[in-house]
Amino acid sequence: MSGLLAALIDLGSGPVYVNWWVLHISAANLVVIGVMVLLFLGALLVPFPKGKRP
């Protein structure tokens, strides 16, 4: 399992940057922002458990 994760996230080579217009951001940071957006959308869409009325 740790070998698989190590293969996916290669910390040996240098960071990968995304350049678009004025934006200059690392791929890792972009992934973090993407996950936060998904979390926000999930909070809107995932049903909240409704408790029973006493």
Binding site: V32, V35, M36, F40, A43, L44, F48
Partner: protein, 204 residues
Amino acid sequence: MRDRAVRDLPPETLLPDVQPAYVSSWMYVFGVLTIAALVMVLASGTALAVEGPQWYHGSNLGHFVNGLHLWSVELFLAFMVVHLWGKFFMAAWRGKRAATWITGAVAFVTSVGTAFTGYLVQSNFDSQWIATQAKDGLNSVGIGAYFNVLNYGQMLLFHALLLPVLIVALTAWHVLLVRRRGVVPPLPEHRRTHPVPPSTGVTT
């Protein structure tokens, strides 16, 4: 002052066990997640402060607590930003809740400053590099006269004392304001230009 506090914040409403129906949404969880992460940040930060850099750079347990501090900060900022997005899009400053919004915004800016000073006090070569890069920007706008990123002692005291005290005070004030006004109701389905009345607290 005591009478005013009891009138504005009745003790029985400080830890409510009922909430309006519209609070039944995952969007309302991010505030408390932010607070939970802040508690972890403060606890791990206290351990780092007590033991010092030789411990958190040199021992296995120190490395682990150092990692706890980093990752709890990452979660703190991520949850705070998602909480901010939710509050912005539900216009949570409505109904005399401007102070709630403002304390939250100032706490956010203070948290960013705390994170930046944290980067500066790692006591490793990374933080030296960050300091030498940051000084130029701050000096160019005059802040460098009062806030010297190359002054390790000043940065450490800002990070470990001044800014955390400010964050905790702002967070407490922010939560008390939410208790005082209640959770903001959802935006009306059909927008009209009528003001939202402030709530007086939790309603059943």
